[in-house]
């Protein structure tokens, strides 16, 4: 009785902390959602006007004047294709490094070194390459660039996850008659699925938010969202309503992504259930 009360107090404190953290994140976003429905006069009015006739003008701007639906699709395609390929190549390499310590740590470090150099230094040679390969203004240049930039991160994240799988698990499977590939596919991958998803989502987000390469390697029709948002920042001022509307648009896939993450983070995916 006493114990359950104590445990519940812990739970209340947990909720309280989480609510505080959530509010810190949520309040600015709610304000942005409000701004997306206001004109510039109301957006900046202090004291704030709480009741006003909402306008869809900002959404009209981003869907008609600037085709954000196209940029959204560009971003989605580039980010997901690059992260999918990175996930496949990365998980193989990470397994190799985690299990066999292939080339550790020199190979590991040298992979990461591509990430350590500021992208600004690499942008001009990469532009030259893209032009030589006739890949400028096409999603492929971006996909290749993102793949090679974010693969090291993917590998590093996954190494950690592969290392935390007890090796007996694989041994047991092999004693049961699985081949190495079967072990990898049937035993290791399911256990490491949360890690794969985290790495995939992480990679997706890096691609989704990347600005500099997207600016240099895309043209008018292949723009990605960050570049499109930047275009709303004009010499006459920031079109804050349109920026807010685009933010609301961007937040929607988060809900989908989080759904995927949560589905995969369910606890019965741990190895206890596989035995």
């Amino acid at each position: 009785m006493l114990i359950s009360l104590r445990k519940n107090i812990g739970l209340y404190i947990t909720h309280a902390i989480l609510i505080l953290a959530t509010l810190f994140v949520l309040l600015p976003i709610l304000w942005v959602a409000r701004t997306s429905l206001a004109n510039r006069l109301i957006a900046y009015k202090i004291p704030p006007v709480w009741i006003f006739t909402p306008t869809l003008e900002n959404y009209r701007t981003i869907f008609q004047q600037y085709p954000f639906q196209r940029y959204f699709l560009n971003s989605l395609v580039v980010a997901s294709v690059a992260s999918l390929i990175a996930l496949i190549l990365g998980s193989l390499a990470a397994y190799s490094i985690a299990r066999f310590r292939t080339g550790d740590p020199v190979l590991r470090l040298s992979m990461l070194s591509t990430q350590m150099l500021p992208a600004i230094t690499l942008v001009i040679p990469i532009f030259l390459l893209a032009r030589l390969a006739h890949l400028w203004d096409s999603p492929f240049a971006l996909i290749l660039a993102y793949l090679s930039f974010n693969l090291p991160y993917t590998i590093w994240i996954l190494i950690g996850f592969f290392q935390s799988i007890p090796v007996e698990l694989e041994e047991a499977a092999m004693i049961d008659g699985c081949s190495r590939t079967q072990t990898l596919w049937r035993v290791v991958i399911p256990v490491v699925l949360p890690g794969l998803l985290a790495a995939g989502v992480f990679n997706f987000i890096l691609n989704w938010n990347e600005f500099l390469f997207a600016l240099i390697l895309t043209g008018r029709d292949t723009r990605t969202l960050p570049v499109a948002v930047a275009a709303l920042w004009t010499q006459q001022g920031v079109q804050i309503g349109a920026v807010s509307a685009s933010t609301v648009l961007v937040v929607l896939p988060v809900i989908l992504l989080t759904w995927i993450i949560q589905k995969s983070l369910v606890r019965n995916l741990t190895f206890g259930s596989i035995k």
Binding site: N39, R40, L41, L76, S80, D221, A230, W233, I260, L269
Partner: protein, 436 residues
């Protein structure tokens, strides 16, 4: 259960990669770059099938060009792709493109800010336009205000650009209720102006005499140069000696710091153009030094609550900063002839007038003085004078670096980590090394 999740995810991603392949037809370049060599099609459509790419900045005039564009595409058969970008990103995007070899870039027409003129021309990235101008029926540089031509037209004795629009800076002030009865004549010198805006400031009530922008590097530099020029100072003299730290310069900076501390919001050291506009539009400040064409926006009830209260006039002291953009054809252009045809159209009197009537920022004298334009915007009389008398930022290959240096030391003076004299001495030492 586990498998199903995996399959769902892979399914989603596969669909996405299919989407990618279905995207290709629209995203690859239309195969229309080469036909420039084709025989012109007879019935008045000389550029049938030609596509040109243009990079422009997001300003009112760009929008008006885009609106008028179908008319040009109809006339010539040309397809014009205009890519609109924000100012700061343009330079990053243009530079790699311009370093491409002749005919190897992606843009056929670009617009060039006056800061970049020296850099682009000394780097030999722009085509000379003298011959084309000589043969043109619609454009002559004589039609333009000389101040514009000297800035974004010719350099030395060669023409590289055609002026597109101006962004001469001016004082815009609004007779909001807070200042009623407190403002007589707008003063004609910087010290008097600073006195006035200080007297109008009531920080406790959240009202300021001026909305000022201290953001590095261009906002603060651009704003302060109005103080400098109107105080009789210059960055370099005629022989490229640095004189920014002479007594006029120090006086201008002392006044500027005083205004920033006592007549503007405490947040002003981080304000850019957007914040100052918003503050004035919300009626929280008497006025600001900004682009002359900001006035129509202050009269837009969707953005502003000081509609019909504001006036544009020259910077107190009379000499403001002149800025402007010019059309240019990069050497890396695929289709220079089509590019020139586009510039000729965009700068023809009729199109320039239509742009001005829509609220653009003219550069042609005949447009400034056109009776329809003046009827719609009576204050263009004043603007023509402001543009004519304003002083240009020095044109040199390292202009952007000059802006950076000035921006840094000015910001240090504003927050008090350096005195005006120290700040300008430091700048002078660095600026001397940047001369070509």
């Amino acid at each position: 259960m586990k498998k199903r999740i995996l399959f769902t995810i892979f399914g989603i991603l596969i669909v996405l990669s299919l989407l990618l392949s279905s995207c290709q037809p629209t995203t690859t370049q239309p195969p229309a770059e080469e036909p420039t060599t084709e025989e012109p099609v007879a019935e008045g459509k000389p550029f049938e099938g030609v596509t040109i790419n243009i990079m422009m900045e997001g300003v009112p005039d760009t929008e008006f060009v885009q609106e008028l564009l179908p008319q040009f595409e109809e006339q010539t058969g040309m397809k014009v792709n205009i890519e609109v970008l924000n100012y700061a990103m343009m330079h990053e995007k243009l530079v790699p493109q311009l370093t491409a070899p002749e005919g190897g870039g992606s843009y056929d027409v670009i617009v060039v800010d006056n800061y970049w003129v020296g850099e682009f021309i000394y780097a030999d990235w722009l085509m000379e336009l003298d011959d084309r101008l000589a043969n043109s029926e619609t454009i002559s540089l004589d039609d333009y205000l000389p101040s514009m031509v000297n800035m974004v037209g010719v350099l030395g004795d060669k023409a590289y650009m055609v002026p597109f629009y101006n962004y001469a800076m001016a004082l815009i002030y609004c007779n909001v209720p807070e200042v009623e009865g407190k403002v007589g004549e707008i003063p004609n010198s910087i010290p008097e102006y600073v006195e006035l805006i200080k007297s109008l400031t009531d920080a406790d009530a959240g009202f300021y005499g001026a909305s000022m922008m201290g953001l590095r590097p261009d906002p603060i530099t651009m704003e302060w140069l109005n103080y400098l020029y109107s105080s009789g100072g210059l960055i370099y003299d005629e022989d490229w000696n640095v004189i920014v730290n002479n007594e006029n310069g120090v006086e201008a900076l002392t006044q500027y710091v005083d205004a920033m501390k006592n007549a503007a919001s405490s947040g002003a050291p981080a304000y850019g153009f957007d914040e100052t506009f918003t503050e004035v539009a919300q009626g929280k400040a008497f006025g600001f030094i900004t682009f002359n064409w900001m006035l129509p926006q202050l009269n837009d009830p969707e953005m502003s609550q000081v509609v019909d209260m504001c006036t544009v006039t020259s910077v107190p002291g009379g000499k403001g900063l002149l800025g402007g953009w010019g059309w240019a054809i990069p050497k890396s252009s695929h289709s220079p002839d089509a590019a020139w045809a586009f510039i000729e159209w965009a700068e023809s009197f009729d199109v320039a007038k239509a742009r001005a009537l829509a609220g653009g920022a003219p550069t042609r004298i005949d447009v400034f003085e056109d009776s329809d334009v003046l009827a719609a915007y009576p204050y263009y009389k004043e603007v023509e004078q402001i543009v004519g008398e304003a002083i240009t930022f020095p044109i040199m290959s390292r202009s952007p670096q000059v802006v950076e240096v000035l921006g840094r030391v000015l910001s240090e003076a504003v927050i008090g980590s350096k005195s005006p004299q120290e700040a300008l001495d430091e700048a002078a030492a660095e600026l001397a090394g940047l001369v070509d």
